[in-house]
């Protein structure tokens, strides 16, 4: 395990939205809160101004996150966060635009906006909290629900194949792609920082626990048990390199999976057109 950089414990209090009551609507132990902490600390360390950050989300447990933070927040319709965010970023190219989304939001109903944002390589950081299920609506299968797993809409075990969000993003053209878990906090925070600093479309997939539904229906236990499970099942990209496909079965490969700093960014390219043709 990488050395733990000293983390401030109370910095997030500076970023909670005044006049909105905390704690959140999330279940006790929901990984969403851990990711929120990591995001806030990352922003704090990078020293961004609150005014310059727009957080855009869709609908889902995860997507409730922006409302608690004192940034510009746009809690949109289910699956459409990246499309709204594209409007924000393109209108205000100097802002840091961050999309926070769930696996259902990003990949089921929102799959098209996801691949197109990757393709355009628009400078948006997407934090996709992958809990393998629809939390908000009570535990239905999602496009990341593994084959054979149980959910309220796969009562006999899921017969569908699942997406690997990172592979999809790479196939669609994203220029920064990484995977983390809520157990591996320091790596998570660092990856969010890198993603925020990357110019172009960046994806951080965070493996997280919905013990309330996924954990319960698949006998994976409570929040603690699920975090332990993530710990046991994770291998770093470095270690994964020397592992066979079989060894990697059912493992979470965590770390930076893809980075391309050459690829031009959408808003930049458009600006060039404006500069060349402005009357």
């Amino acid at each position: 395990m990488a050395t733990v950089e000293k983390q401030k414990s109370d910095v997030m209090l500076n970023y909670l939205r005044p006049r909105k009551k905390f704690p959140s609507v999330w279940c006790p132990g929901c990984g969403n809160g851990i990711v929120m902490g990591a995001f806030i600390r990352a922003v704090d360390k990078l020293g961004y101004s609150k005014d310059d950050i727009a957080m855009v989300s869709g609908i889902g447990c995860t997507s409730r996150m922006p409302v608690y933070m004192d940034f510009n927040s746009l809690h949109t319709t289910h699956g459409r966060a990246l499309a709204f965010a594209t409007g924000v970023k393109f209108a205000q190219p100097d802002m840091k635009v961050v999309v926070i989304t769930g696996d259902g939001d990003a990949l089921a109903i929102g799959g098209n906006h996801f691949i197109h944002a990757c393709r355009r390589n628009i400078d948006i950081t997407t934090i996709l909290i992958n809990n393998y299920i629809y939390g908000m609506t009570g535990g239905q299968g999602s496009p990341t629900t593994p084959g054979g797993s149980y959910s309220t809409t796969t009562p006999y075990g899921n017969v569908e194949k699942h997406f690997e969000p990172c592979h999809l993003a790479i196939g669609a053209g994203a220029s920064f792609v990484g995977r983390a878990t809520v157990y591996h906090y320091p790596q998570l925070e660092k990856m969010i920082m890198q993603a925020l600093e990357h110019k172009g479309f960046s994806l951080v997939e965070v493996i997280s626990n919905c013990h309330t539904y996924f954990g319960r229906l698949n006998r994976q236990g409570d929040a603690t048990a699920m975090l332990r499970f993530f710990k046991e099942r994770s291998v770093t990209t470095a270690r994964a390199k020397n592992m066979t496909a079989e060894e990697l079965e059912n493992k979470y490969v965590i770390g930076n999976l893809h980075e391309d700093n050459e690829k031009t960014e959408f808003c930049d390219e458009y600006q060039k057109v404006v500069d060349a043709h402005k009357a």
Partner: protein, 191 residues
């Protein structure tokens, strides 16, 4: 003009409203469904069950309501409770104001410490579940047994059938036992 109708006939209050409340994991919804089904199967009465949904229903206090009436139930939501079961302090605090004057209050006396009235029944459902029924999960069924004993809303045999029909296979004995524990424990207290 007011009172031309209501003044004459009033709204018939031939209804009995029950709320089972507790925290998310305590199985209040399951209990209310089973209780409702039992009352319905017993015959002669109409029943309507409802509950909270959405993120609001997670964590914190959870509730499930039943309205019982010999007449048609026109308004399906609980308004003034005739019976409130509170399995946690938080649930009690939240829902006590909805209890009718003279309505019956039943609490888990192991978890609820401050009750704003003296007229209530206290049974340590959770402790009984852990210590006598063999699993904390059946605290809700013990509570059903107690309700059965303290009211005449449904006969124990029909309630037992209803519980067993909905309980997962392999838990029949445990649930039967739980019902009895609750029933007997409450009978002791019946005033």
């Amino acid at each position: 003009m007011a009172g031309k109708i209501i003044g004459k006939v009033g709204i018939p209050q031939d209804r009995f409203e029950i709320r089972l409340s507790g925290s998310g994991g305590q199985g209040m919804i399951f209990a209310s469904v089973v209780l409702c089904e039992a009352i319905g199967r017993a015959g002669g009465k109409n029943v309507v069950q409802s509950q909270s949904y959405g993120p609001e229903a997670r964590g914190g206090a959870s509730k499930a309501d039943i309205v019982v009436s010999t007449a048609e139930i026109y308004y399906p939501k609980a308004m003034k409770l005739d019976l409130l079961l509170a399995m946690t302090q938080e649930a009690l605090d939240k829902y006590y104001p909805d209890l009718k004057d003279g309505g019956m209050l039943i609490v888990d006396s192991g978890l609820v410490t401050e009750v704003p009235t003296e007229k209530y029944y206290g049974v340590p459902f959770t402790r009984l579940a852990r210590e006598e029924a063999g699993h904390i999960m059946v605290a809700n069924v013990i509570a059903l047994g107690a309700i059965c004993a303290l009211t005449d809303i449904v006969p124990l045999d029909i309630l037992t059938d209803a519980v067993l029909a909905r309980a997962p296979k392999g838990t029949e004995d445990r649930n039967k036992k739980a019902l009895e524990i609750g029933y007997n424990e409450a009978l002791k207290q019946k005033k």
